[in-house]
Symmetry: C2
Subunit: 150 residues, 2 copies
């Protein structure tokens, strides 16, 4: 095969990339999350080739990230996030945080996020699910896990 297959690696990063690592996939996820749920809408918004969009949508549906759902008697459908897909959007929120901080420039962030719970314009923060304190790259050690391969 030409493009190396990441799905077989013993690494959750590689496996996740196998699901949404292909070009355009995160932006398609973003569009569906933002309410562009139909083929034509996504295609027009992104300017992606129709061929590639078809491939990506099928791939995402096949992995249970999106669900294809009819919205008319005619053969029309829209794509909606599954729960599994919505959890993937967390990844996008972290990308947004990094991009807003390092790449937005003087114009500022293109999109703002209002948190329902507090009503504020917010960004995400990473915490340890045990002790609630910040958890970032330099706060952790790596250890082999049960799924490691020798």
């Amino acid at each position: 095969m030409q493009r190396t297959d990441f799905g077989d690696m013993a690494c959750s990063i590689a496996r996740t990339l196998d699901v949404i690592g292909e070009p355009w996939s995160p932006l398609i996820l973003r569009d569906v999350f933002a309410g562009f749920t139909r083929f034509e809408q996504i295609q027009a918004d992104l300017g992606i080739s129709r061929k590639v969009l078809t491939e990506r949508l099928n791939h995402l549906v096949g992995h249970g990230i999106l669900e294809r759902r009819p919205y008319d008697r005619r053969p029309r459908h829209e794509y909606v996030l599954t729960d599994k897909g919505a959890e993937l959007v967390d990844l996008l929120l972290v990308m947004v945080r990094w991009g807003d901080k390092h790449l937005a420039g003087d114009a500022g962030p293109p999109v703002l996020y209002r948190h329902h719970a507090c009503g504020q314009i917010s960004a995400v923060d990473l915490r340890c699910d045990h002790c609630d304190k910040p958890m970032h790259a330099r706060d952790i050690d790596l250890l082999p896990g049960p799924g490691a391969r020798p």
Copy 2:
């Protein structure tokens, strides 16, 4: 140009993808984070083509994610994470969380993460940086920001 350029889009997700969205880039970042810091080590660990590895490393150095640093009188160097690069590793931690949950299978996670602050094997949790409560896809509304383009 053949491959669409994401860097010019008014979207922090697209801009971030322009920095680490190419195939292999997140895995290279992972390797450097995990202590594989030299060309030969990364190449052997990933099985990536030397040509592509050279391109990706130059790209990441050019964007200030990695720093090329000599470690010998001979022309030998290793790659180390910059602060900007270490912040990008947050993205990997969220990918790991999702991959561990949805793709690890019965074998369990291949790698475990021990949090320095509490000593526990932990995963990351996303919180609002204003109110500290959980912040996920379904907890937010999107609004146009100052950097939006019409």
